[in-house]
């Protein structure tokens, strides 16, 4: 599990630390830094999977374009991640980068245990280069490093897009991409290789969308497609003709029923997007079960989501410890505070009669320094 992430010099994250729970909900205004947090999360994941070349690309994906602008004190970009393994051991992974000659360069990469034991640093870089998270076979601490690398390398940040979710795909495309592209291939593969999991996904879908009779998969030309069959229909409606919220829901279910290793972490932007408020509670239940117990016998996965919906936040009344308020300073920089701490600080209590989404909507838990006139 990722316990904490500190970011320096990345987009609005001049110096920002966030602590995570098994399920963490980020709330904040547009431009506060929620997306920057998820992107930095994704960059750490990409780096763990393939080093600098995987984490950065040509402009506008180069480090130079992504680092904080307009702040003279910030020169490079750095990430510090606290990881806890299933055995309870904690580790700190640090990565510092800068751009030289239009290319991102690693200045520091280090993995230490909580008690200060250095597992690897740049001096112990593997012969392949890349990242210390891919140690040479037989090198010191190899097994421990690989276990940590598995957690970091599992990180994926999704921005589900119904127009990608609905697409027909090559049947060889069996995973769901960051935007949701590949759902058809994922479902076809799941139905073929793991029919029991496919059935559980369908049952779960039916719990949230009771009119669902079946999830149908079919081929046409070189592609596979998916759709939903409802009562009275002898053929499924193709995904392209389903509502935005239904496509989002199936996309989300595919993420949660993907085969992931224990300790994996995913993030989903705008979790409420496209959902009628009557679905918010069911979506929250789904996420909660996936994060704390594991869905239908699967391993639990760590989940981070963002939302702007007061209705969704209202459903978190009894679990405000999972909410993080992301606040942008008027003069730049992003601060992340646990909502319960903010409530105590700003309102003197965490127990209010007013629904928590309504309290958040007032804006009182964000900046209190701006003045009019």
């Amino acid at each position: 599990m990722i316990k904490e992430l500190t970011v320096h010099g990345f987009k609005t994250l001049v110096d920002t630390t966030i602590r995570f729970e098994p399920l963490t909900i980020l709330v904040g205004k547009n431009g506060a830094g929620k997306t920057a947090l998820l992107e930095s999360f994704q960059i750490v994941g990409n780096f763990a999977r393939g080093g600098v070349d995987r984490a950065f690309g040509p402009p506008p994906w180069s480090l130079g374009w992504l680092r904080t602008r307009g702040s003279g004190a910030v020169t490079g970009v750095s990430f510090r991640v606290v990881i806890e393994l299933a055995n309870g051991n904690e580790y700190i992974y640090s990565l510092a980068l800068d751009e030289r000659a239009s290319k991102a360069e690693v200045l520091e990469e280090r993995l230490v245990s909580k008690d200060g034991r250095v597992l690897a640093d740049l001096s112990k870089r593997p012969s392949s280069g890349g990242t210390i998270l891919k140690p040479d076979s037989g090198s010191a601490n190899e097994e421990e490093i690989r276990e940590i690398a598995e957690v970091l390398g599992s990180i994926i940040s999704y921005e589900l897009n119904p127009e990608a979710i609905e697409q027909g795909v090559d049947p060889e495309h069996t995973y769901v991409g960051r935007d949701g592209y590949g759902v058809a291939g994922f479902l076809a593969n799941l139905q073929d290789k793991s029919p029991d999991v496919f059935e559980r996904l369908t049952v779960r879908l039916r719990r949230i969308r009771p009119e669902t009779q079946a999830v149908d998969i079919w081929s046409s030309g070189a592609k596979v497609y998916w759709g939903l069959r409802d009562p009275g229909q002898d053929k499924a409606f193709p995904a392209i003709h389903l509502s935005w919220g239904d496509r989002q829901l199936v996309g989300l279910l595919c993420l949660l029923y993907s085969d992931r290793k224990p300790g994996s972490a995913i993030a989903v932007e705008e979790i409420d997007r496209g959902f009628h408020h009557s679905r918010h509670f069911e979506v929250l239940e789904l996420l909660s079960e996936a994060a704390y117990d594991g869905l239908d016998g699967q391993e639990p996965i760590q989940i981070i989501v963002t939302t702007h919906s007061p209705s969704f936040i209202n459903k978190l009344q009894s679990r405000i410890g999972e909410i993080r308020s992301v606040i942008r300073f008027p003069d730049g920089g992003t601060l992340v505070r646990p909502l319960d701490e903010l409530l105590q600080e700003r309102l003197g209590t965490t127990e209010l009669a007013t629904p928590i989404g309504e309290v958040w909507e007032t804006g009182l838990l964000e900046e209190l320094t701006m003045t009019t006139g």
């Binding site: 700003r346 003197g348 007013t354 309504e358 909507e361 007032t362 209190l368 003045t371 009019t372």
Partner: protein
Amino acid sequence: MRILLVTEGASDEPVAARLIRHALPDASVLAKRLPARGFAVVAREVEIWVRAAHFGHFDLLVIHFDLDDSISATFEDVSESKRWQEVRDAADKVLESLPQGGRVDALCVVLMSPCQSTEAWLAWGIENENGRAWEKSHRHILKTKLFGNPPRGLTRKAEDMAEKLIGQMAVNERWPQSLRNFMDHLRRGM
């Protein structure tokens, strides 16, 4: 002086902010809006606004809500309204329950409670008549008259009308009574 202002709607905020700055030129105002219109929302949110102003070390909290027709047309003071009393009592109750928390002076809470609504004040600002007469006009009719049906350009129009209102206050003695009460309370910090 730091003031936290909370209003019901898009047209009320610029009017309230300008009236506050007219009465207290050195004030800095942080304006926030209720998540939804309606007295029920005001009543249930008094607690969080008072708490936020208290713990945020504001000097003054101004809470806006319309009296609608909760008061007789011949009222002398807005405190005759049950709505006004309900909000006042709720605010006082919360204030009494809060620890001093390092504050030098206690928070002052002022209620901006136009009769029947802010539109009565704005209409008076535009047309040189007896302010009390506008307080007897139905708020929905006035809203349509000032902002159209459906209403549009609320903030922009309200900003212009607020300037006219302040101009009218300087030359016309026949203020709407609820406006007079508000400005008195604002200056006295009650």
